[in-house]
């Protein structure tokens, strides 16, 4: 066991994947010599060479488009999109090609491409550097969409995503890159929790709080505060997988607590919380004591950074959501 930042844990996971499978390659803007703007790929080009860790020209659509060609040739590319707001030039290649190639080919073709995207706000950045575009991809059949919330998951989930024969959109909580935690880098990834399983992070009895990515830590803090302040027992679940959703873990918890709150940074409107609310209502109707509530970003573009503390769901807004489920 060693204490690693989330960024370092990803780096170790990538290194392991490059070691294990000679077909794995990393490509993106500034991923080579610089090691990525968040240093996630630090040192990998030096150790694995320019043919396997490729600094590409600055063109997101081409990064994904050529990764598709490389995958058709038998490679297993891991693409970095530098920031969430920069993925949109690549959405055509992701949605019309990457997601559909297996279906279109009647199962003849597989595209094991992983797309890493640092997402979410809270770092005081300029426009287009703080967004949460995950729902666009969760809505697209053929993609698997996951988000890691802590260093240990970062280490295993990146390896599982790269090993997946389906394309995976891998979201990294950028404001948690520097969070440190114990990571067992010697552990076998086969023994880890499967990629598409959610995880109970804090067990509790009174209300289920579902979240992922950067808000995992915030929700854990909320659970601690609620236990001490209101003597309320919150069960926090890190969804980890946004597509497919692990409804089994979700419904088991809600059947127990009777209350459910979903928290994400992405806008609430037409977001993942809405999908979860509909499914929980359908599958746990007779267990529910209150409607499923959502806490998240507003139906506005991401604001200027001096306003982001108001835009982002924080501990108080999440607890406010929890409180409201007891008002029914």
């Amino acid at each position: 066991m060693s204490k690693l930042t989330l960024s370092r844990a990803l780096n170790e996971g990538l290194r392991r994947s490059l070691d294990v499978d000679p077909k794995v390659m990393i490509m993106g803007e500034d991923v080579g010599k610089l090691g990525g703007v968040f240093r996630v790929t630090d040192g990998l080009q030096k150790d694995f060479g320019e043919h396997r860790v490729v600094d590409t020209p600055l063109a997101e659509s081409a990064i994904i488009g050529t990764a598709i060609g490389l995958a058709l040739r038998g490679y297993r590319p891991v693409c970095e999109i530098q920031f969430d707001g920069f993925v949109f030039p690549a959405t055509d290649q992701i949605v019309t090609q990457l997601a559909k190639m297996r279906y279109r080919s009647g199962g003849q073709l597989t595209l094991p491409v992983t797309i890493r995207i640092p997402f979410g706000g809270g770092i005081g950045a300029v426009e287009h550097h703080s967004e949460s575009p995950e729902i666009f991809f969760a809505h697209t059949a053929g993609l698997r969409v996951v988000a890691c919330g802590d260093p240990a998951d970062a280490f295993t989930m990146i390896q599982q995503s790269i090993a997946s024969d389906d394309p995976v959109i891998f979201f990294e909580p950028k404001r948690r890159y520097w969070d440190k935690a114990e990571v067992d880098t010697a552990a076998s990834v086969e023994d880890a929790l499967p990629l598409h399983k959610a995880r109970v992070v804090v067990p509790g009895d009174d209300v289920t709080l579902l979240t992922y990515g950067p808000l995992v830590r915030t929700c854990v803090e909320a659970a601690v505060a609620a236990r001490e302040g209101d003597a309320r027992s919150i069960e926090v679940i890190d969804l980890r997988s946004l597509s497919p959703l692990d409804m089994e873990t979700i419904t088991a918890s809600v059947a127990k607590t009777g209350r459910c709150v979903v928290a994400h940074e992405a806008p609430v409107y037409a977001g993942l919380g809405g999908e979860i609310a509909a499914r929980v209502t359908e599958q746990c109707f007779y267990h529910l004591e209150a409607p499923v509530l959502r806490v998240g970003g507003f139906a506005t573009p991401y604001p200027a950074s001096r306003l982001e503390d108001h835009y982002l769901p924080d501990l108080d807004r999440i607890l406010d959501g929890v409180d409201r489920t007891f008002g029914f």
Partner: protein
Amino acid sequence: MTAELIQLLTPEGERVDNPEYPLDDVDIKGLYRDMVLVRRIDTEAIALQRQGELGLWASLLGQEAAQIGSGRALTPRDMAFPSYREHGVAWCRGLDPMKLLELFRGVSHGAWVPEEHKFHLYTIVIGDQTLHATGYAMGVQRDGTEDEAVIAYFGDGATSQGDVSEAFNFASVFNAPVVFFCQNNQWAISESNERQSRVPIFQRAAGFGFPGVRVDGNDVLACYAVTQKALKAARDGQGPTLIEAFTYRMGAHTTTDDPTRYRVASELETWKLKDPIERVRVYLARSGQADTAFFEEIEKEAGELGKHIRAACRALPDPVPLSIFDHVYNGENAIVDAERAQFAAYLESFEEPAR
């Protein structure tokens, strides 16, 4: 940069020698046969669409030389990435034409095994495949094989797409073994060349740092020779080439299109004089390489092919309803699997089973 149109066989059927493009090993009678047969596939498919047997067809009429010439220049190991009109290239790659009809009938999205034919699936979103070809070529480069090249097919309209420019740039920067084969058929549905670009397409290559050539796209010999040379350069590590095959879409964009709304009939009449098949027929007959029996034999073969296509198209079965859920993912997917089970139960709730 070559400024002129490369031509080895004039519209009148006269051979033109060009020392840069010697033609030693080419089977001209074979190219003629290919062109006649793919034109027949095209004619039959249009008729089948009119009879309601196909939902749509994208005709290649007029582009037979560009497709057969370039397609026959490929070696069995070269990989081709088509757009959606490359029925002639598909023919050269040994793909059963019924696979193409499946797509246009709507019984599949065109599911063949690309590696078996070294012919990727049709790509409908304009220009996307140029990046796939470039990436594939980057893979060839990494594999260190020297006898493989990649070719990307696209049209004049596609050159306006950002992906095509990005493909040119990536291919150039990485010196990837890929040939960009643009069939400039003068029309992107209703928009003419002038609406797509202010410079001739082949000249774009210069800005990206690799050679561009313009070839008479209705001259099967020139298309063959120019493509062969560009593929060889790619295999030899000299990087990409852009070929602009200057041709003409003699039919509609697809069977839903009405070209009389945007172009004059005299334009078509002018291009009919440059027909890609007729000039080869004249050349073969005049040079004594083929007699009446040869031409009759090919007509007969085309007739049989047409008959086969008509019958086979009508016999294509509709897929079963639950196949909607097949092949979305490799492994399990809880969401899709649950929907499949629900839909199966719904279908079973009827007394009459669904087909």
